[in-house]
Symmetry: C2
């Protein structure tokens, strides 16, 4: 049935490996202004790969390479560029070219880009793109970037409640060919006042006869979000219900737009990255392309929180100066009580933060969770204390009574730090503060201070009267 | 055109809020064995919501509630249960009911569940489900759980290279209605030997005339993965190219299955959670439902790494006993040099880990990145040192010469810890170890030890001769 010869010119492409060699080749081609060669390379690449290359070029080369793209490719590439680079590249581009690019973008991407343009350029762009798109973009710009409204795209396929399958097919044809709507998976069914009533999957248009009323086959069990919902919650809902697109409505259930899964995947990646950054004490997302000063400014605040916290620790130590002078061995174990309190606290904090990652706090879970944390802390504190007791005897020839007080301190410190690690994220969440912050420098400094207080108080009480 | 009265029975459902009240209601209904009432509640819920409720019930109640579901709903719910709970619930279910459930599952989900069953039950299930599915599941079980093969589903729609649009429509109809294939977005076009040649999007079947040869409209610029690829890499590729499904092939490009975005979203969530856990020093994913002993076992290894590392710190301190006795003020600042080295190191480590999150290391980026980290470290080290110099004078009335040595130490420690934080993840990645581990207890212990050595050496050299 099949003629192998016919297929000889069909190529199946491996995912491209963008390596340093390719990057250096392109850099030297740029230096030689070998535009035709660069264009030829780009022609064979996926826009996402071109973007990855441009993201890794020095700024001048990136600018030059982007300038070589035809509008159609530039449209695909510009959405994949690192945000800071994109802003810089577009700043150097003339208004007309920016207008051409924005005119071809989906409304959600167009909105992201127009919002970052200088006012005067943005105005020019909005005055010169397709008037309907321009209206949509102006509408979308009203929503905060991190809300459902900020994520949504106003291009979608909809038909009214009395339509037949064949009407929906016609709507898909027009949407796809004339309005160039991409990522069509679902046809939304609206009332006359644009209230969302239901939807059908694209495949239903294929498996049902053309004369079937959509009313008879539509899914009415709709999951939707409102435009003001936080993007993280949108991501949770799409993940939970395994959706590839979700409609966005206003307070009257009027359909405003839809969010597709690719944008939500980016949100999930971003939020995960942010969580990690908070744990490590970075104020905001840090891009490779930032200047030294900007990176420094991003990291210094938390270093100062650390420094402030530990100056208090130093104050605690100095107020126990007499005890330390009397029992110098006590000072050797300061790193141990600090580090183990810190580790136990951040273990509990991370588990709690992840446990609460859904939308709501489960109060009866919280109580059970804290009780479990307490049992775990008691067990781990006990095991670690016994080991420390043996180690202090073995490696530091500590007296048994000192070793016992040291172990007792470690036990109390581990239990205390674990409970703080488990409770603070819950309190933060309740107060509307991101719980991931509880795993960062503030809580670990607090645990250091409390750990030292517990340890040195016990040592002082038992050994220096 | 539209008659409002017709729509009165059309309901649009809000995303349900599962709260403690609902949960407690269900618990007491279970206690009263009010099966009909529970079934009525479940009928109105999305399977993902039923799963969320069951996930939060005590085990006996969860078991009971799951038992009330009809097979069709059980199939939808079982894939959303927490893994440990699912294993326990299925263990209590009789073989026949498990067989009924597995028979209705997609092959990827069926594989996950059958792999967790006791051998004897698994064998029974595989002997009694649809023979074709059984073959597929046995095939899929050969792949590691965290590979593309482990993620893929062997149900997909394909036609041969000489097919027309109408043949593809027929294939979608059969696949959808008879084989119950879900999530149909793409029709794959295969050669006679099942080699993957191209694909068309579902919408192309709608907008092109039925007699169009698929050859003329198919996309040949294919992005695919091989069955042995790690799931994290699969996720990166689908994210980068904004794909909602990706074909999986063997070494001869024979099509084996496809991976859909919903499974990849789960992978991304999992991997992000794992990164956070590694940073905090947890050995593996920790579920709320684990026993105290199991949680304790999960956390103790890293507590011991911390303890081991800090015993070395204690050793360093004890070997500088003479210096500390002479200048007791030196001991007060131990927490500061430890904590700031730790913070600066983990900031650099997180940024490096995130910067390398793509598939390949960019060596010329690495060098530039390290140079930038060095500049940032120098700047932040300088600023922090000046502040510490002032603070030591102001709050601790330290002598100027001690303050200067303290500041110098802090500067060196911050630069050193930053560079270690930036270099170790790169080395780990090169060695095939997950770089996120570099942000955890091993590296922070190492930084503590080095920090103390630097600080106490400088103090000893300058003040105790």
């Amino acid at each position: 049935m099949q003629n192998q010869n016919e297929n000889e010119n069909i190529t199946v492409r491996d995912v491209i490996q963008i390596d340093n060699e390719l990057l250096q080749n392109i850099s030297s081609l740029i230096e030689d202004e070998a535009n035709q060669a660069i264009k030829t390379i780009f022609t064979n690449l996926h826009p996402a790969d071109i973007a990855e290359i441009i993201n890794h070029l020095p700024f001048d080369d990136a600018q030059y390479a982007f300038g070589l793209l035809d509008t159609e490719t530039a449209v695909e590439v510009v959405t994949e560029l690192d945000e800071e680079l994109r802003e810089k590249v577009l700043n150097e581009l003339d208004k007309e070219k920016i207008t051409d690019i924005v005119d071809e973008l989906d409304t959600d991407d167009a909105t992201d880009i127009v919002s970052d343009l200088p006012d005067e350029v943005a105005e020019h762009v909005l005055d010169n793109i397709d008037p309907e798109d321009s209206e949509d973009v102006k509408e979308l710009m009203k929503y905060p970037e991190e809300s459902a409204g900020g994520l949504m795209n106003s291009d979608f396929i909809s038909v009214d409640i009395n339509a037949l399958v064949k009407d929906a097919i016609e709507a898909v044809r027009i949407g796809s060919l004339e309005e160039k709507i991409e990522d069509i998976y679902t046809i939304y069914i609206l009332a006359d006042d644009e209230t969302l009533l239901g939807f059908v999957h694209l495949k239903e248009l294929i498996i049902n006869p053309p004369e079937t009323p959509l009313k008879n086959i539509m899914e009415e069990d709709l999951i939707y979000v409102t435009a003001d919902m936080d993007q993280e919650e949108v991501a949770n809902i799409m993940d939970k219900y395994d959706l590839i697109s979700i409609p966005v409505v206003d307070e009257n259930k009027k359909m405003l737009g839809r969010i597709t899964i690719d944008d939500v995947v980016d949100v999930i990646q971003e939020e995960a990255a942010e969580d990690l950054q908070k744990v490590a004490g970075l104020s905001e997302d840090e891009e490779y392309s930032y200047s030294t000063i900007r990176i420094s400014r991003n990291r210094l605040p938390w270093l100062f929180v650390s420094l402030g916290g530990e100056l208090i620790s130093a104050g605690v130590l100095s107020s126990f100066q007499a005890s330390i002078e009397q029992i110098i061995i006590a000072s050797f174990f300061i790193p141990i009580v600090m580090a183990l309190g810190g580790s136990a606290g951040s273990q509990a904090a991370i588990v709690t933060v992840q446990g609460m990652s859904g939308a709501n706090i489960w109060w009866h879970d919280v109580v059970k969770r804290l009780m479990k944390e307490f049992r775990v802390a008691t067990l781990n504190g006990f095991v670690a204390s016994i080991v420390l007791l043996l180690a202090s005897k073995l490696f530091f020839s500590a007296e048994l009574d000192f070793g016992l007080i040291l172990s007792l301190s470690l036990f109390i410190i581990i239990v205390n730090a674990t409970m703080i690690g488990a409770i603070v994220p819950v309190i933060f969440k309740k107060l509307g503060v991101d719980p991931a912050i509880a795993t960062g420098p503030i809580v670990s400094s607090a645990n250091d201070i409390m750990g030292l207080l517990i340890y040195l108080s016990l040592v002082t009480i038992f050994f220096t009267v």
